[in-house]
């Protein structure tokens, strides 16, 4: 059976990219991607294209977890299988929307960064911490804001697609939170694996992200990474069963320290 190996990139041992349609140009760095300012047609199509190809990556990751962890509890395997179905529908819905907007698959370069990082980890709790609890939870934060932006420019169709996707993603994050807790309760070493996974994701992100002043293929200049203020979707993070302390920590990291209750600062 075909297997996907590993590659080295900037001193990191990452998983080699999964197979991609020949229509796509696959790249590894932000500066090789396209990104557009504003909300013109190109920016809109790039945004939907990026969501769509991130969903392909999420599908590949969930599927790979089913293969590489055959002894995982059946209930967790069922959640991963369900996630595969959800991600498949997300890809199809975003592809349909992209075509309605006049776009097409392969219109801009894509990356499989989340796969390369997550599938480099050798344990399932670590992968859930990376993909579901970090990348998908981060996407949940971003998509919540995107939905309002699409509505603001009168594109209710794209907003509706993203709203349906967001509802599914909340559950993907929630089941990861539940299973990590359960696995850690059964074996405290799981927490060590989760901590190592989070550190690896953070290190890979810092190593491979664009530096201030670098440009995308279409000439957009990147800001200093430290000045990029992330959005935090508190309401959906609560639905995904992050506790108050975890949400406050995320808010602190996002630069909202002054909004976090005092007792949690200590």
């Amino acid at each position: 059976m075909k297997e996907i190996g590993f590659v080295e990139e900037a001193g990191l041992r990452l998983r080699a990219e999964p197979a991609r349609d020949e229509a796509f140009k696959v790249v590894r760095r932000d500066k090789e991607m396209a990104e557009y300012d504003g909300s013109g047609p190109e920016a809109q199509r790039e945004s939907v294209h990026r969501h769509m190809t991130n969903e392909i990556t999420s599908l590949d990751i969930a599927a790979q977890c089913l293969i590489e962890f055959p002894d995982a509890p059946w209930g967790l395997r069922m959640e991963l299988a369900r996630q595969c179905w959800d991600e498949s529908r997300h890809i199809a819905a975003l592809h349909r929307r992209l075509e309605e907007m006049g776009g097409y698959k392969g219109e801009v370069p894509i990356s499989a960064f989340e796969w390369q990082v997550t599938c480099a980890l050798d344990d399932l709790a670590g992968r859930l911490a990376s993909q579901n609890r970090t990348f998908e939870a981060g996407a949940m934060d971003v998509v919540g804001g995107n939905i309002r932006e699409w509505r603001a420019i009168g594109d209710d169709a794209t907003a509706a697609v993203l709203d349906a996707i967001l509802a599914d993603e909340i559950h993907h994050v929630r089941f990861a939170n539940r299973w990590i807790k359960q696995l850690a309760a059964e074996n405290p070493r799981v927490l060590m694996k989760v901590a190592m996974a989070v550190r690896f994701v953070s290190h890979a992100n810092q190593t491979l992200q664009a530096d201030a002043g670098e440009t995308t293929v279409n000439g957009k200049v990147f800001e200093d990474p430290h000045s990029r203020i992330p959005i935090v979707n508190v309401e959906d993070r609560k639905l995904a069963e992050f506790n108050d302390e975890e949400i406050n920590e995320i808010l602190r990291q996002a630069g909202f320290r002054s909004l976090v209750p005092e007792q949690v600062h200590a």
């Binding site: 349609d21 020949e22 229509a23 599927a63 089913l66 059946w74 991600e87």
Partner: protein
Amino acid sequence: MSLTVNDRVRAIATFRFIEVRLMEITAAWTPTTAEMEVKVLFGRHIFDFAQHADWLGKRTFELRKPEQYSLKPAESYVDVIEALAAEEETGKRLSALYDVFIPALESRYRAYVDATDRLLDEPSVVIVERILIDLERMKRDAQRLRERIAVVAVPLPELARRESAHSAIVAPQG
């Protein structure tokens, strides 16, 4: 004489083994298949196979075995499943699964329904009949996709011959 409870649970647990393997095979094919639309098809069907396994696995508990109990089929039939898993080219993967293996599995499910007592074993029959509806839809999904993205069906007579060479797939009782 109809099947005994032991015969039934052995058959149901064997079907569960096969459905879990089909979930795993389509999952393994997903990151290693390039065509986006085919990935989407496999991604949808991974969950169909998982649900079938789950329903069958709940039934094993009602037949004096643990919940989610699987039984490995006869060794030579496991080899057939692994031959399916080993297909690497997209057209062959689609044909092997949707033209050869699923139709054969449907026949084996129908043979089970014919062999069992439909009243005493009605919970199994209901599960199997629901699975048959799904398998029919899954074949239609694959056919529609092949028409849309122009993937030609590939004849796989050797795989079909090896599959049909097994009159029974439940492993002999040791």
